[in-house]
């Protein structure tokens, strides 16, 4: 299952990347599982995505809870709580 992951704001800066393509095992689960997968890289990945810091997620440009399931071709965005307005 292929997904694109995008990072914004503090995450984009800390992870030093704004997006990447990932190939995950089929049925790899939900956004939280994706975060665990990424946090396993260690370093800033563990710091930012290991569950210590508040995180929001969108799937295909729509806000979703971390328990939302992923499908092949999804664009997942991970970002800190929004601060517009």
């Amino acid at each position: 299952m292929n997904i694109r992951v995008r990072y914004f704001a503090r995450l984009r800066e800390k992870l030093a990347t704004d997006q990447e393509q990932l190939a995950l095992p089929v049925g790899a689960g939900d956004v939280a599982a994706l975060c665990r997968h990424l946090a396993a890289r260690g370093g800033v990945w563990a710091e930012e995505l290991g569950g210590e810091r508040p995180l929001m997620a969108a799937i295909n440009e729509e806000l979703k809870p971390l328990a939302a399931s992923l499908s092949d071709g999804d664009e997942v965005a991970l970002f800190p709580p929004v601060t517009g307005g």
């Binding site: 995008r6 914004f8 984009r12 729509e62 965005a77 800190p80 929004v82 601060t83 517009g84 307005g85």
Partner: protein, 146 residues
């Protein structure tokens, strides 16, 4: 009528409207006691417009509205410049007030914008989300009886 503008430059002028009542909210960059000279606002192009559209649609489902306009700056915004305008027209004032406040509360907690403060010495720091904004948005959810 619904319109959303994500602006790299100044916000468009306030729109002409035709209804009994209109409530307009505008927000400006504050200097935070002289500490801040500008904001840099990042967003998620595509999702930003869609999410604001969903927020405006939710407002239009809750209240009978004749117009919803949302305009928001992105990129660098200097102190004292406008960041955001939400303009809501309706037949009666209560609906216009509530819908405008609702849209602002949801915009603050759901639209994918992130502010970075640029201080006098050039240092930049991401603005942290405020619990007060989450509380303000939560008052519109059914669990609170609203």
């Amino acid at each position: 009528m619904q319109a959303i503008a994500i602006c790299e430059d100044e916000l468009p002028p306030v729109a002409v409207w035709h209804a009994g009542a209109c409530v307009t909210f505008e927000g400006r960059v504050r200097d935070e006691q002289g500490r801040v000279v500008a904001l840099e606002i990042e967003h998620y192009p595509g999702m930003t417009e869609r999410e604001i559209g969903r927020i405006a649609d939710q407002a239009a489902e809750r209240w009978p509205l004749s117009m919803v306009l949302v305009a928001h700056r992105v990129g660098r915004v200097e102190v004292d410049q406008l960041i955001v305008r939400v303009q809501v027209a309706a037949q009666h004032r209560r609906e216009a007030f509530e819908a405008c406040a609702f849209i602002m509360d949801y915009l603050k907690t759901r639209a994918p914008f992130w502010k970075k403060e640029i201080s006098v010495d050039g240092a930049a720091s991401w603005v942290e989300a405020k619990q007060g904004d989450r509380d303000a948005a939560a008052r519109w959810t059914p669990a609170d009886g609203h």
